[in-house]
Symmetry: C2
Subunit: 365 residues, 2 copies
Amino acid sequence: MAHAADIPTPALVVDLDRFERNVATMAAFLRARGKAFRPHAKTHKCPEIARRLIAAGAVGACVARLSEAEVFAAHGIRGLLITTPVIGATKIQRALQLAIAAPDTIFIVDHEANVRDLDAAAAAHPGVVLNLAIDLFFGRTGIPPGEPALALARAITRYARVQFVGLQSYDGQAAHTAPFTAREVRSTGSLARAVDTRRMIEATGIACPLVTGGSTGTYRIDSAIDGVTEIQPGSFVFMDLEYGQIGGPDSADYHDFEQSLHVLSTVISRPPGLAVVDAGFKAFSTDRPFPPAPVDMPDLTYAWAGDEHGRLDLSQSTREVRVGDRIAFVPPHCDPTVNLYDQIYAVRGDRVEGVWPIAARGKSQ
Amino acid sequence: MAHAADIPTPALVVDLDRFERNVATMAAFLRARGKAFRPHAKTHKCPEIARRLIAAGAVGACVARLSEAEVFAAHGIRGLLITTPVIGATKIQRALQLAIAAPDTIFIVDHEANVRDLDAAAAAHPGVVLNLAIDLFFGRTGIPPGEPALALARAITRYARVQFVGLQSYDGQAAHTAPFTAREVRSTGSLARAVDTRRMIEATGIACPLVTGGSTGTYRIDSAIDGVTEIQPGSFVFMDLEYGQIGGPDSADYHDFEQSLHVLSTVISRPPGLAVVDAGFKAFSTDRPFPPAPVDMPDLTYAWAGDEHGRLDLSQSTREVRVGDRIAFVPPHCDPTVNLYDQIYAVRGDRVEGVWPIAARGKSQ
């Protein structure tokens, strides 16, 4: 397939020029700040993108789940950090196999029973030591920073087959807090508690080389904090409607990165006054309170029309829309939209330069 | 894997006893009414389920998209009806290949230019005749019933490589109209127009053997209508929170079918007052205004907590919830939830009897 016009719809399309600028911008910014860059692959689930990020300077990739990590490891990606605890005997056995194949993988924990289970499983594999970071609680998962986290760090040092490596310090609410000034207050507050916890841990003689966190919304804020060692943004590669609205330091819009991701659709029916496209609940995630936005057609508004369809009301429009016309949309939220597709069409201008498998799509286990 | 306790979460699980009763109930009801049964496979996207429905008496399967049809045809399913028009030269070429492999496939059209394109493409394959049904407009896609549809039926008869077979008469809004009496008014009105259109067409000497439509919500209503030949329900195999609320002829709940589909999750973190499960926007579709419902735990309420997580507030509960506990949920809306998973675990009691590939998952093209 050479031409974008031949892409079968509905399809996920990335504009390579914009994508490459997004990658270069983030990598250069974090390099200049002296922070490690471990971008979160839950956004793209695509080994080709992970490879490109590593080529730009990333130290590896965060992943949300063990099954994602297995896919990326099988594709040769190293420097994996799994940002969800691994719970249950069967998954812990899989985690051991992963650690044998990719020994620098970091797992997170938030209670001692899980540490004990991981250590016990590792005992069956002499020489294997699991890298553990403690997940700090800022509203979703984890253990409270401060004394509880310190106690858990101490506990980890008592087990022989696990090694404490640092703190997972992700405040999910901070990423989308608007405006920028409120985001700054929230993220700075959370990460200050992470850095304090690091100090408490190191004061006891336990090394804590890693404090990792941050997001596309907070990378400027978080990378300015001494003691934070690493930033793990995800959405900046693609962006979406929501991230476009969170506001920057000097603007109501968020301009740090470009909208590189689109869903391409086709008009498949033209009842009187309507254009119906072939993209509905199975083509876009619906977890945000606004619909997809047609690209370069501000006079048209998308309305959900079921699992397979979207509706554009033409009754107030003078625009000609015909069956077969192709309309691109900016998705409301990139991560769960990407998770609906098996591949991304990588496009430069009208040319398809690659079709990248979303190899970890659906890998939530 | 023998035991349900070993299923890695998040996972899609079907209760086989309930599923089998749902299939038997619908098949027996439509058989008694003398209507053909062509269940919509966009709900399950699973060839194993299509095979079981055909074994129960279905004449084939509706599918929403060409790429779904290709998957089901490759798995040996025949009697396919594609309920979305096939638009664009590349897809029309694929439609021809499908019609060669599965000659009884029915395609839908709603304007003559598409008929002309299909006919022209078929000319390259001597002996191939495409079966076309006209999609009637009841609010989403299609051509208005009555004179416009009649004119299109006449137009179809002027092309040599296509054959008019009937009317696709699906009123998507009717399926979820509540209460039952309002649903009855709406669906009866729509299908009366379809049956009138059939009469107009047959009065001109054009045979119209097929009038197909209906849904899990309207099958009782639609199957009572003379001139409707076939019912195409989908969700009855699984059910979901929304269908549970549409009301029956004698009740506010809808009891015709049993809730057979669940999403199984695991508690992965227990911050103070909270249980966090491993199922969020990537584990459930979010297109309905209510969250997933925990099975057999009416005291707990699920709250969305992002792409990968859900939150159960335990602050008002005396229930013991521990990390590692498994909690099943009824999804708000079955079709787009199924579309997130690669497989369905088919469970009877505590035993996994099968792991069925959702082979057409993501096939929206």
